[in-house]
C-alpha cells in the first residue's frame, strides 16, 4: 500500500524525470535574454575558438585559454548565459540537486562533438586536446 502510494506520488511529482523528455518548457525573460545573448555572440565566439583563444571545457562552459582580455569578456558573458539555460533545464524538468552536473556533462559532450577540427576541447578526463 505504502509502495503504491509512493510510486503514485513520484510519478505525479516528477513526470518529466520518468518520461525521459526534457525541454525548456517555459522561455522566461531571463532564458530568452540568455538565448539571444548567445546567438548575438555566436560568430565572435566561433572566431575565438578557431584562433585557439577559447576552448570548450568538460563542464559545458567555454574557457579562455590564452588570457586575451576580449576572450575573457566573451567567455564570462557566454558562461553566464549558459548557466541560466542549464539551470532552467534543471528547474523546469525537476532534475533534482544533482541535475546540474548531468546537464553540464551532456552539454559538454555535445560541444565536443560540434567542435570543428583544430578547436580546443577538454575531454572527460580533464586533458585538453586539439580536435
Amino acid at each position: 500500500m505504502f509502495m503504491t502510494a509512493l510510486f503514485t506520488f513520484l510519478t505525479l511529482a516528477y513526470p518529466a524525470a520518468f518520461a525521459g523528455k526534457y525541454d525548456l518548457k517555459s522561455i522566461t525573460p531571463e532564458v530568452n535574454r540568455a538565448l539571444k545573448g548567445r546567438q548575438a555572440r555566436y560568430a565572435q565566439l566561433q572566431d575565438m575558438k578557431r584562433s585557439g583563444l577559447v576552448g570548450e571545457n568538460n563542464k559545458g562552459f567555454t574557457a579562455s585559454l590564452k588570457g586575451d582580455p576580449a576572450a575573457e569578456t566573451i567567455v564570462a558573458a557566454e558562461n553566464r548565459d549558459r548557466r541560466v539555460i542549464y539551470q532552467a533545464l534543471v528547474d523546469q524538468n525537476s532534475l533534482g540537486p544533482s541535475g546540474m552536473m548531468d546537464v553540464q556533462r551532456v552539454f559538454a559532450e555535445v560541444q565536443r562533438e560540434k567542435a570543428a577540427p583544430g578547436e580546443k576541447i577538454q575531454g572527460p578526463s580533464g586533458s585538453w586536446e586539439t580536435k
Binding site: F2, M3, L6, F7, F9, L10, A13, Y14, A17, F18, G20, K21, Y22, D23, L24, L35, K36, R38, Q39, A40, R41, Y42, A43, Q46, I85, L89, S94, L95, G96, P97, S98, G99, D102, V103, V106, F107, E109, V110, Q111, K114
Partner: protein, 52 residues
C-alpha cells in the same frame, strides 16, 4: 520498485512524528534524451547566430 525508489526524491513518512523516515535519492536522468535536448538548443543558438 527499488529502482523507482532510488529514482525518486526526498520523501518523509510521518507515521511517528518523533521519528520521521527520510529517504534521500537522486532523480535519474535519461542521458540520451538530455543529449537530444542539448543538441537542439545548440543548433538553435548556432542558426540564430549565423543569421545575424
Amino acid at each position: 520498485m527499488i529502482a523507482l525508489l532510488i529514482a525518486g526524491c526526498t520523501v518523509k513518512a510521518v507515521g511517528d512524528p518523533d521519528r520521521p523516515i527520510t529517504i534521500n535519492a537522486n532523480v535519474v536522468i535519461d542521458i540520451r534524451g538530455m543529449k537530444e535536448t542539448a543538441t537542439g538548443i545548440e543548433d538553435m543558438v548556432a542558426q540564430g547566430g549565423t543569421r545575424k
